[in-house]
C-alpha cells in the first residue's frame, strides 16, 4: 500500500485527534491572516495619510520655501499654479496632482484667539488626489468663488460653531499686510489625520489666493505617481525641469522627518508581525509533536510488523502535512473572509479603546496581501511537517519491544 494512502487512512481512523490538530492549524492560520491584514491595513493607512494629507508623495514648492516655512514666506510661492498643475498632471507617470495654499491663521472668538490652518484647495482635483469629499461628515462642499468653508469637526467643537455659522480669521498676506475674512461654514470634515481635525478648515483655492494676494500662485503642488514608479526617481527627473524656475520637487522619502517616523512605525509593525509568526510556529510545532509522541505504541507496532524506519518517518510526515494542509487551507479561507469583510465595512477600533472619546474616525480597513496570506499558509503546513520528523524519527529508532511497552 502506498504511504500516502496509509496516511490518509490514519487520519480518518482517529477522527477526533485529526480534527483537534487540524483545528489548531485552522485557528493559527486564520489568526495570522487576520493579524497581518490588520498590520498591513495600519501601514497602508499611515502611508496614505502622509501621501495624501500631511506631506504629499512628491511635493513641488519654491526651492526656499521649506527652509523658511515657519516665517510664513508667502512670497516664496509657485507662480501660475494652475498651468503647472495641469502640466504635471498630464505627465504619463503622474496619477494625480493638485495645488494647495496652506496658511496659518488666528481665529478670534469673543476675547479668545485660536490658532488654525486654512487649506485653499481645488476641490475637483482634490477628489482624485485625496478623495477629500469622502471625508465630508455633514453638509456640502464650498463652491468656488464663494466665501464658504468646510471645517474640521474638532476645530468646530473647539470654536463652538457648526454648519451655517460664520467665523472670522486674521492672516498675513503675501505683502505682509494683516487681512481678515469671514467665512460661512457649509459642512464639517472628518479628516483622516487627527491633527488636521482640530486645526484645519478648507476653502476654495481661488478665495485663498485672493485673501493672501497670491495672484494665481499656489504654495505647493502635491503629486502622486503611478504604481511602479519610484517617487524619488520621478522627483529627481522633474527637478531638472523645475530648478530653472526656482522650484524644487521633493519625494516624501527624502523628507527626512516624515519618512523616518513612517519607517520607524513600519519597523515596529514588522517586529509585531515577527512575534505573531513565532507564536504561531510554537503552537503548530507543539501540536504536531504531541500527536506523534502519543503514538509511540502504534509506531512500535508498525515497526514490529516490519515497516522500515524511513518509511515510518515519511508516513508520519505525510500525515502531519495532510492534517496541516486541511486545517491551514480552511483557516486561511476563514481569515481571508473575515479580513475582507472588515476591509469593506471597516473595523471600528473605538470598541476596543475603553470608551475614550476621540474626535476623528477610528475605522481601520484591513488590507489582505497575497504574500502574507500565502506565507502563513505555507509556513503552517511546512512547520507542521517538519515538527513531525523529530518525534517519529526517535520513535522509529527504538526497539519495537520497548515502544510496545508504552
Amino acid at each position: 500500500m502506498k504511504l500516502s494512502r496509509i496516511a490518509a487512512l490514519n487520519i480518518r481512523r482517529n477522527r477526533r485527534r485529526s480534527f483537534l490538530s487540524a483545528l489548531a492549524m485552522l485557528v493559527v492560520s486564520a489568526a495570522l491572516v487576520f493579524a497581518f491584514s490588520l498590520i498591513e491595513g495600519m501601514k497602508a493607512e499611515m502611508s496614505r495619510n502622509v501621501k495624501e494629507w500631511s506631506w504629499g508623495e512628491i511635493k513641488i514648492a519654491h526651492a526656499q520655501f521649506e527652509k523658511n516655512r515657519l516665517l510664513n514666506p508667502l512670497h516664496l510661492n509657485v507662480s501660475d499654479g494652475a498651468s503647472l498643475v495641469s502640466r504635471i498632471a498630464a505627465r504619463p507617470e503622474t496619477e494625480a496632482a493638485t495645488g494647495r495654499a496652506i496658511f496659518s491663521v488666528m481665529i478670534q472668538k469673543g476675547d479668545r484667539r485660536y490658532q488654525a490652518q486654512g487649506w485653499g484647495v481645488d476641490f475637483a482635483r482634490e477628489e482624485s488626489y485625496s478623495r477629500l469629499p469622502k471625508y465630508l461628515k455633514v453638509g456640502r462642499l464650498p463652491e468656488a468663488g464663494q466665501r464658504e468653508t468646510v471645517i474640521g469637526a474638532g476645530l468646530a467643537k473647539k470654536l463652538g460653531i457648526g454648519v451655517g455659522d460664520k467665523f472670522t480669521f486674521m492672516t498675513m498676506t503675501k505683502n505682509r499686510g494683516m487681512y481678515g475674512a469671514t467665512l460661512k461654514i457649509t459642512g464639517l470634515m472628518d479628516f483622516p489625520v487627527a491633527a488636521l481635525n482640530s486645526l484645519a478648515f478648507v476653502l476654495p483655492l481661488d478665495k485663498a489666493q485672493s485673501f493672501l494676494q497670491l495672484d494665481g500662485a499656489v504654495l505647493e503642488i502635491v503629486a502622486k505617481v503611478k504604481k511602479g514608479n519610484d517617487p524619488a526617481v520621478v522627483a529627481g527627473a522633474w527637478n531638472a525641469e523645475l530648478a530653472p524656475l526656482g522650484l524644487s520637487a521633493t519625494s516624501w522619502t527624502e523628507a527626512s522627518a516624515v519618512y523616518y517616523v513612517m519607517s520607524f512605525m513600519t519597523a515596529i509593525f514588522n517586529v509585531i508581525g515577527a512575534m505573531f509568526i513565532l507564536l504561531g510556529s510554537t503552537v503548530v510545532i507543539n501540536t504536531t509533536m504531541m500527536v506523534v509522541f502519543e503514538r509511540r505504541t502504534e509506531i512500535g507496532t508498525l515497526g514490529a510488523m516490519g515497516m522500515r524506519g524511513d518509511e515510518l518517518v515519511r508516513l508520519f510526515f505525510l500525515e502531519a502535512l495532510f492534517i496541516a494542509a486541511i486545517g491551514a487551507i480552511a483557516g486561511t479561507a476563514i481569515g481571508c473572509a473575515v479580513s475582507s469583510f472588515f476591509a469593506r465595512e471597516g473595523l471600528d477600533l473605538t470598541a476596543f479603546m475603553g470608551g475614550i472619546d476621540v474626535e476623528f474616525p477610528t475605522l481601520l480597513y484591513p488590507v489582505l496581501n497575497a504574500s502574507s496570506v500565502l506565507g502563513s499558509l505555507v509556513m503552517t503546513v511546512i512547520l507542521s511537517g517538519l515538527a513531525s520528523l523529530l518525534p517519529s524519527w526517535s520513535a522509529a529508532r527504538i526497539q519495537p519491544v520497548d515502544a510496545l511497552r508504552v
Binding site: 483537534l20 522627518a257 519607517s263 509585531i272
Partner: protein, 419 residues
C-alpha cells in the same frame, strides 16, 4: 482515600509521563511568555508616548486657575494663580516637587544677519523657574547645543525643530512679542542661549523657554503664573488623589483646580489611544492563538488516556476520585507551564525594557539627527503577568473538564478498547 493520595497520584502521573508533561507545559509556557512579551512591547510603546508628554510638556499634575482650562488654547496670563509662593510652600510641606510656569503665545521676530532670513514665527513661550523646573521636567538633559537656563541667564532656549526652521545659532539675537497680563503688547530682546532636542516632537517644534524672572518683569505678572506643575509618578495619579490635593490647595488660594496629565494631555492621548485600539485587537489575537495551543495539547493529553482511565476504573477507582486526580493534574501542568512561562519571560522582558530592539537598521538612513532613539522598548506590567499565569492554569483545568467527564461516562469495556 484522602487528599494526599490524589496529590500523590497526580504528581506521580506528572513524572510518569515526563515527555507529555514537558510538551504540554512548554506549550503553555511559550504561549504565556509570548503573551507577556507582546503586551510588554505594546505597553512600552504607549508608555513612551505618555512619558514624552509628561516629562517634557504637561507634567503629571497641573495646578491652574479654575477659569484657565476653558481658555487654554489662548494660554491667557490673566487666568492666573495669584499667589504661587503660597501654593508652592504648601506643596513643599507635602514633600511634593513643584515648579511654577507662565505659558503664553509669543511671536519670535528675527532679522537677516545674523539670521538667514527676516520674519516672525508664532511659538509657545514657557517662562520657567530655573531652580525648580528641573525637579519636575527633564528638559535640562536634552540640551543639544548651548546651555539650559540658569538663575541669571537672560537667554532663550529653543526647541530643536524650531531652531532648525529658523536657522538659529547660539548667541543670535531675537525679539519676543507677547501680550502682558493686561493685554498690552510688549517686547523682549533676548539671545539664543540653548537648543533642546526632546523626544516630544511638539515641544521641539513649538516651544521656546525663557526665565520666569524676565517674563514677570516685562509682562507685568506681579508674581503670578498660570501653571504650577507637580511631579508625581504618572501611574499613581488617581482621581481621589487629585481631588484631595485640590481641596488641600484651597487653603493656599481659592479658585484653583488640579488637573491630571490625562486631562492636560487629552489631545495627545487621543492620538496614542487611537493606536491602543489596534493593540488590544492584536493582543486578543495573540491570546486566541496561545489559548488554542494550550487547550489543544491539554485536550489531546486527556483523550489519549481514555484507556488508562478505563483501566483505573476497572480496578475499582471511583469516578469522582478519577476526575479529581485528572483535573488536579491538568491544573498542575497549567501552573507549571504558567510559572515556567513567567520565569522565561522575566529575563526576556528585562532585556526588552532595558535594551529593547534597535530598529535603526530597519530604517533607511536619513540625513538628520532625530530625537527618537529608533528603539522599541518594553514595559513591566505585573498585573497582566499574574493574570496571565492564573488564566493559563485555569484554562488548562477548564479544558480538562469535558473530556474527563466524557471518559468516566463511557463504559469500562468501551474505554479499555479505546485506542
Amino acid at each position: 482515600m484522602n487528599a494526599r493520595f490524589f496529590l500523590g497520584l497526580a504528581f506521580r502521573n506528572l513524572t510518569r509521563h515526563k515527555r507529555r508533561t514537558i510538551l504540554t507545559a512548554t506549550s503553555m509556557a511559550a504561549g504565556l511568555a509570548m503573551f507577556i512579551l507582546f503586551d510588554s512591547l505594546l505597553t512600552g510603546l504607549q508608555n513612551d508616548g505618555v512619558r514624552s508628554m509628561v516629562w517634557y510638556d504637561t507634567g503629571a499634575l497641573q495646578v491652574q486657575n479654575a477659569a484657565y482650562w476653558d481658555e487654554k488654547d489662548s494660554m491667557p496670563l490673566d487666568k492666573a494663580i495669584e499667589r504661587p509662593d503660597k501654593v508652592l510652600a504648601l506643596l513643599d510641606s507635602k514633600a511634593l516637587k513643584a515648579a511654577p510656569r507662565a505659558v503664553f503665545q509669543g511671536e519670535l521676530v528675527v532679522n537677516q544677519d545674523p539670521w538667514p532670513e527676516s520674519g516672525s514665527a508664532r511659538v509657545r513661550v514657557v517662562a520657567i523657574d530655573p531652580t525648580r523646573d528641573g525637579q519636575v521636567f527633564r528638559l535640562k538633559d536634552t540640551v543639544a547645543e548651548g546651555k539650559w537656563l540658569s538663575e541669571d541667564s537672560g537667554g532663550i532656549v529653543l526647541g530643536y525643530q524650531l531652531a532648525k526652521d529658523l536657522g538659529a545659532k547660539i548667541g543670535y539675537p531675537l525679539t519676543v512679542v507677547a501680550r502682558t497680563k493686561d493685554g498690552a503688547y510688549q517686547t523682549m530682546d533676548l539671545r539664543v542661549s540653548g537648543i533642546v532636542n526632546t523626544p516630544n516632537a511638539a515641544v521641539n517644534r513649538l516651544n521656546a523657554y525663557i526665565s520666569l524672572e524676565i517674563a514677570d518683569e516685562i509682562l507685568y505678572l506681579g508674581g503670578s503664573v498660570n501653571q504650577i506643575v507637580v511631579a508625581y509618578d504618572e501611574d499613581a495619579v488617581t482621581d481621589a488623589f487629585v481631588s484631595r490635593l485640590g481641596s488641600d490647595l484651597s487653603q493656599a488660594e481659592s479658585g484653583l483646580s488640579v488637573l491630571p496629565w490625562k486631562t492636560t494631555g487629552a489631545d495627545f492621548l487621543a492620538f496614542v489611544q487611537s493606536r491602543s485600539g489596534l493593540s488590544r485587537v492584536l493582543l486578543f489575537i495573540v491570546f486566541i492563538i496561545a489559548a488554542v495551543g494550550v487547550s489543544n495539547t491539554m485536550l489531546m493529553t486527556i483523550l489519549e488516556r481514555t484507556r488508562e482511565m478505563g483501566m483505573l476504573r476497572a480496578q475499582g477507582m471511583y469516578d469522582k476520585e478519577l476526575t479529581a486526580s485528572l483535573q488536579l493534574e491538568a491544573a498542575a501542568i497549567g501552573l507549571i507551564g504558567g510559572v515556567l512561562g513567567l520565569v522565561l519571560s522575566l529575563p526576556l522582558n528585562a532585556f526588552l525594557v532595558n535594551t529593547g530592539f534597535d530598529l535603526s537598521w530597519m530604517i533607511e538612513k536619513v540625513g538628520v539627527d532625530l530625537p527618537m532613539a529608533g528603539r522599541l522598548r518594553g514595559a513591566w506590567h505585573p498585573r497582566i503577568m499574574f493574570t496571565a499565569v492564573a488564566a493559563g492554569a485555569f484554562l488548562s483545568f477548564l479544558v480538562s473538564v469535558v473530556p474527563v467527564r466524557r471518559a468516566v461516562k463511557m463504559s469500562v469495556v468501551e474505554a479499555l478498547r479505546h485506542n
